[in-house]
């Protein structure tokens, strides 16, 4: 490692629709270092990386590589200068083989399958990856897809590799393997940037750490000069301390009669004879690994997914129901808060008020011809206050809010329907630290009002903190059930994996 910066940013600003995603940032990446970027969601980490990788162009400021100012119009320009990015959602073409993906963009006019496969095998072996080059990329696990992307970067002779949350979808063993690999690339002189939400990871595996907050670089220095609490302090400023986890006694369910009963529901190969009950006044947590069929069963209950329905029965308050459209489930008082706001949670071109208003309209405005704009606006501001949604005004586009406030809008859009059962799917994903505690208390308050809550979360502390009863999903079935008293992270993990 030398002190020679390979990439440096000076006064770089990136503005999206009037909002600074990154403001006046200075950043140096040294030759042969592993550099961690930490910060809350929306702090500007991804934007910083995208600027270096040429995915977006800066609104102001200069980026220089090897001391000379550069302007990258496309990722291809950056890759020509040896800068590659490994995306969070991988950018492989699922229909092509691993080998074809690795050479993608570097093909000759005519390609023999054998030559492409050999070239790919050589790179993969050099990195000690056990991936079959002739397998289709779409059939690989998240970890292997990431390996293929790294192999592609290595084949491109990348000097700088940027990892956007590389460990998010990996198991602990895969994570260790990834960091081993990063260290071996480092020995070859490659510089790496990685974004991480796991602070321990950043502290343990990086040489230097840069902390961002609200689009600004707060501090940058050797990893050894930080510890966990110092990082958190830089990340959240003086606003608040790390959210505590108050102990809470298990509350007996208000009623012995379940609000929702699910029996032997099957859907495609994702949901396999799933059975469980939800009682009013309590939070039923569903833990499990990604892909264990939790969101899928939620969407079957809502009537959103109807293809591949393989049978099973669902009762709401003892009445058997089988919804063909979410509108019917909503009319009966069930609401679903999506795990992916952008995909199927909110209406991004609309304001926070319109989003909340549409939630009300969906349930109570169905028989009305004329839009009751007054009512919608009144309810929107009422819920904005109740969930303390921080927007400069009600007509601000929902997309310009922070992740936490966006999520509160999505929750308000469901709660304004006055539901009796809400399915919260990963309610604090992509939410800033400050809002996480608020959202959890909203969920708890809602359950205490006597409604039923299903909490789907892959984050064990969240499941443990909130749930009165914990179900563990594994390959489409409920593998275990724990009361609040008997649950522990180790027991849940054991049930989810083995």
């Amino acid at each position: 490692m030398t002190d020679h910066p390979i990439v440096s940013l000076r006064g770089v600003t990136k503005t999206y629709g009037g909002i600074d995603a990154l403001a006046d940032a200075d950043f140096d990446l040294l030759q042969g270092e592993i550099h961690a970027l930490v910060g809350e969601n929306g702090a500007g980490k991804s934007t910083l990386c995208k600027l270096i990788a040429g995915v977006v162009t800066p609104s102001a400021g200069t980026i220089s590589v090897d001391g000379a100012a550069v302007v990258f119009a496309t990722p291809k320009d950056a890759s020509r200068r040896g800068i590659s990015m490994v995306y969070q959602e991988t950018s492989l073409v699922p229909q092509l083989t691993v080998a074809q993906n690795i050479v993608l963009g570097r093909e000759r006019t005519f390609n023999s399958v054998r030559r492409v496969r050999n070239a790919a095998r050589q790179v993969l072996q050099g990195l000690n990856f056990k991936v079959d080059p002739s397998q289709l990329a779409g059939s690989l696990s998240a970890a292997k897809r990431q390996m293929v992307e790294i192999a592609r970067a290595v084949l491109n002779e990348a000097r700088v590799i940027i990892f956007d949350e590389p460990t998010a979808a990996l198991t602990p063993e895969e994570t260790d393997h990834l960091f081993d690999l990063m260290r071996s690339l480092k020995r070859k002189g490659v510089s790496m940037i990685f974004i991480s939400h796991a602070l321990e990871e950043a502290l343990r595996h990086s040489d230097r750490i840069t902390v961002l907050r609200n689009g600004r670089v707060m501090t940058s220095g050797p990893a050894s000069s930080f510890d966990r609490s110092l990082l958190i302090q830089h990340m959240i400023g003086d606003e608040l301390k790390e959210a505590g986890r108050p102990a809470r006694a298990a509350r007996p369910a208000l009623s012995a009669l379940p609000i929702l009963q699910v029996e032997n529901v099957r859907m495609g190969n994702m949901v396999n004879n799933m059975s469980f009950s939800v009682f009013p006044g309590e939070i039923t947590g569903i833990a499990g690994l990604i892909g264990s069929g939790r969101s899928e069963v939620a969407k079957v209950i809502m009537g959103h997914t109807k293809r591949n329905f393989g049978g099973g029965r669902i009762w709401l308050d003892g009445r058997e129901v089988r919804y063909r459209l979410p509108a019917q489930a909503v009319a009966d008082g069930i609401a679903y808060v999506s795990e992916d706001r952008k995909l199927d949670g909110f209406f991004e071109t609309m304001s926070a008020a319109d989003n909340i208003g549409l939630g009300w309209l969906a349930k109570f405005g169905r028989r009305r011809l004329r839009t009751p704009l007054q009512t919608m606006r009144r309810l929107a501001s009422e819920w904005e206050r109740r969930l303390s949604i921080r927007a400069t005004n009600l007509n601000q586009p929902v997309l310009s809010l922070s992740g936490g406030n966006q999520q509160k809008v999505v929750i308000a859009k469901s709660l304004v329907q006055n539901p009796r059962l809400v399915i919260f799917d990963e309610p604090t994903r992509g939410v800033d630290v400050g809002a996480i505690a608020e959202i959890r208390s909203i969920i708890r308050g809602f359950a205490e009002s006597g409604a039923g809550v299903i909490l789907i979360s892959s984050y064990l502390p969240e499941i443990l903190e909130l749930s009165d009863r914990i179900l563990v999903a594994k390959s489409g079935t409920i593998a275990a059930e724990f009361s609040r008293a008997e649950a522990s992270a180790a027991k849940i993990l054991h049930a989810a994996i083995h």
């Binding site: 503005t15 999206y16 629709g17 909002i19 995603a21 969601n41 929306g42 980490k45 991804s46 934007t47 995208k50 040429g54 995915v55 977006v56 162009t57 119009a73 496309t74 990722p75 969070q88 959602e89 998010a168 990604i290 892909g291 969101s295 899928e296 969407k299 809502m302 959103h304 459209l325 979410p326 509108a327 909503v330 609401a335 795990e339 992916d340 706001r341 952008k342 199927d344 209406f347 991004e348 071109t349 609309m350 319109d354 208003g357 549409l358 309209l361 969906a362 349930k363 405005g365 169905r366 011809l369 004329r370 839009t371 997309l399 922070s402 859009k413 469901s414 994903r429 992509g430 892959s458």
Partner: protein
Amino acid sequence: MAERRTRSAAGGRRQNTLELVVVALTLTLILTFAIFVDGFATPGNLRVVLSNSASLVMLACGMGVVIISRGLDLSLIAQMISGALVFSILVTEGVSAPLALLIAVAAMVLVGLINAWLIAYAEIPAMLATLASAMFISGLFRFAVLQGGFLLLLPKTDPVVVFLAGELLPGISMPVALMALTLLLTWVLLSQTTAGRTIYAMGDNFQAARLTGLQVRTVTIVIYVFAALTALMAGLVTSAASGAVDFRTVTHGSLLFDVILVVVLGGIPLRGGRGGVRNIIIGAALIATMRNGMTLMNFQTQSQDMLKGLVLLAAIIADNYVNPRDAETDTVGDL
């Protein structure tokens, strides 16, 4: 996999500059024509422009509503001609005009319902569903009703011709009045009704609209029936003006493209969720000005088509120049 990670925030959105570019272009054209083309800047010509663009605006209203919901209705022109044909045939056969109109409206509602059923219930993509229904409708009406002909001439005494040739108020012809009515109804639908809110929500994020519990199926019916009715109105206006119902409009006219052009140039993106009556007026103003100016300069239809294509490209290139894209907005796509 359903449980994928959310991309981190700060997704930008481009300002709608296309709208401004088109307004500037229209004003420039009007100024140029007024200076260089004899007879352009006269009150008489203004009336001609307005009357001639009535049916285009009506169709654009129907198409605009469909596109805002992120749909597409390729059967609009076939519906327009078929609706006019039903009405005209019935009247020629001696059915009273109000009854004939009622039957024509019923027929168009049925066509709209079929389109909506194909899209909302059978879940066929709107483009394919309406392409198929366009072919079916024009085939059906041409062969079953016209026995293979393509033209139905209307007598001068035809009640539609008489009615639509008249004036509502001095200086305001019937087609212009109906055009204003259609614009008003479109505005009411889009901005005053529950269905209108749902249309924007569907265009913005269909899955979210569905999961929130909005009545996406019912509203799809509203959308395509509304489009069919605007098409019927446009058909009546056009056939009255030309004295004939002409199936060649369906088979080799560029009217469908003109309609989409009006909507897109006005600033309603094809991916839906945004825009309104104002955008339809802006787009229609440009196309109507171009059509009229070029006709006054004795351009042939073919060269008019070429110019319209060039204007579409020029407007989009100008928009890109004013508001450059990077790799991210590129993949999101704007039009």
